[in-house]
């Protein structure tokens, strides 16, 4: 596998001190790399630097061997960035938008447009202003796959997509990687990381390699927000980040239900703890489960292990 993207000691700092620093990693052809980070972790700034929109303050990155800081034009021939805003010419049709952007990328109109549009269930003859947010996202994702670039960069690709479309996109992104692209996904959704070959975590501007999804979730609070026809799950480190998450969701619809937990039931309970509670008489099981969860919540535990269950047991015995 050849190296598509090689990032070394990259840094960008905003005047307020935010940004990222000393970021180094490599990504190869055929790989799907996922960079996971919470809101404000420096994820989008890193995306903007790698998409050549802004120049880094320190370090450098090579795009298929081309130093992007020195030869921006050549580097741009290898990259297709999908920004988090679904930017299209609203008064043109989906087909015209695809044709225009493919022209800008020097690809010309392809025969595969219809096939790709079919995969994403897109009506290309409608004006983009008539599209829903999810449709605009799908159009943008379809354009990225049609571009056939060596590096496909995605900033929160699944925002606004329903679950079936999300899996369609990730399947297609995987196919694009197998056909010779390097796919890099920037996300704050844990579900998206399931499709990655390599997991990286960006936190407070620093990038680290993550061994597993559990590594990514360490110390995070799960927020599930239900809108009109969407249910969105976000991960935050403190309740103070909740307004930002809601603000981001608002364009998709008014939140109707917000559920906050230290992970879903499967992640909150370790199998051993679940087994231990399962040994209790059936009539008491629900009550014990609730007591353990309340104890975990009050004590600030993010995961219920056998020890937590034993703590509750000891407390009950003392009483």
């Amino acid at each position: 596998m050849s190296r598509s993207l090689s990032v070394s000691s990259l840094g960008f700092r905003y005047p307020g001190g935010q940004g990222f620093w000393n970021v180094s990693f490599t990504a190869s052809t055929g790989q799907v790399v996922c960079i996971f980070g919470r809101n404000g972790s420096g994820k989008t700034t890193l995306f903007r630097v790698l998409s050549t929109l802004i120049a880094p303050h320190t370090g450098e990155f090579l795009v298929c061997g081309i130093n992007a800081s020195q030869d921006k034009a050549s580097a741009r021939r290898k990259i297709f960035p999908v920004f988090d805003s679904n930017a299209h010419f609203d008064h043109l049709t989906g087909r015209e938008n695809i044709a225009l952007f493919m022209e800008l990328y020097g690809n010309g109109v392809q025969e595969s447009v219809e096939t790709t549009a079919g995969l994403f269930d897109l009506d290309l003859d409608r004006k983009v202003r008539e599209y829903s947010r999810g449709m605009k996202r799908k159009l943008y994702l379809a354009e990225s796959l049609l571009s056939k670039r060596e590096i496909l960069l995605f900033d929160e690709p699944s925002l606004g997509l329903d679950s079936s479309m999300r899996s369609t996109f990730f399947r297609q992104a995987g196919d694009a990687a197998r056909q010779g692209s390097c796919v890099i996904i920037f996300t704050n959704r844990i579900e998206d990381t399931a499709y990655a070959d390599c997991l990286l975590k960006i936190e407070k501007g620093t990038l680290t390699r993550a061994a597993s999804v559990d590594d990514l979730l360490e110390g995070m609070i799960t927020v599930t927000i239900s809108c009109a026809d969407h249910e969105i799950t976000e991960y935050i480190s403190s309740a103070g980040e909740l307004p930002d998450v809601i603000r981001k969701i608002l364009p998709l619809g008014i939140p109707r239900k917000i559920r906050i937990s230290a992970g879903d039931e499967r992640e909150l309970w370790s199998p051993e703890a679940r087994q231990k509670v399962g040994r209790a008489p059936a009539v008491l099981r629900t009550m014990i489960t609730r007591l353990v969860e309340r104890h975990a919540r009050e004590s600030g535990y993010t995961r219920i292990t056998e020890d937590v269950v034993e703590e509750v047991q000891r407390r009950l015995e003392r009483r």
């Binding site: 960035p81 010419f89 225009l100």
Partner: protein, 199 residues
Amino acid sequence: MIETIFRAVAAQSSGRFILKSLVSLIFVAIFTVIQKGGLALAMLVIFSGVTGPAIRIVTLRTSGILDRIITTPAHKPSMFLIFTGVWSAAVFAALVPALVILLFQAGPVIMVPVISGTVLAVSIGTLTGIAAKTLGDAHLYAILAAVPLIIGTLLPGPQSLALPYSSMSLTLFPAISLLTQTCFLGVWLMILAGLVSRM
């Protein structure tokens, strides 16, 4: 593709285009009565040439399209020239009914300063749009850019040789003046295209 590019960049609906044409026609017709049709046309070229593209660029920026365009491998000076060309055509087309009135008065030679004046105003508007971050900025910068052009047009002096708006206003078209205007415009566009290539 040319038609798609034109519609994408200019984003003019037919209703808006007709309204612009009508307003310019009435404006120039009124001023022609008091022998100031040329001046009225010059003012229209300056205002619509500077503000239109400036606002369009900011709209493209706020919607995220500008970021998308910047990160494409497309040659940036060419993109700038295409944008300026499309907007010049859009501004010029809306002024055609008004221009017809002056064609009878001044003759076809007026086309030279009108075309160069439109391209100059649009290129300044494009630069203004690139510098502005918000629509408020765009309006402010457009006014700040238009004021020197208006002053230069109204005041007599050596600048009137290079400014096509003075020729339009005075309906005087000496060959040296038209040549200077065209050369000045060419140099100006090359400088701007060079600046844009750094994006």
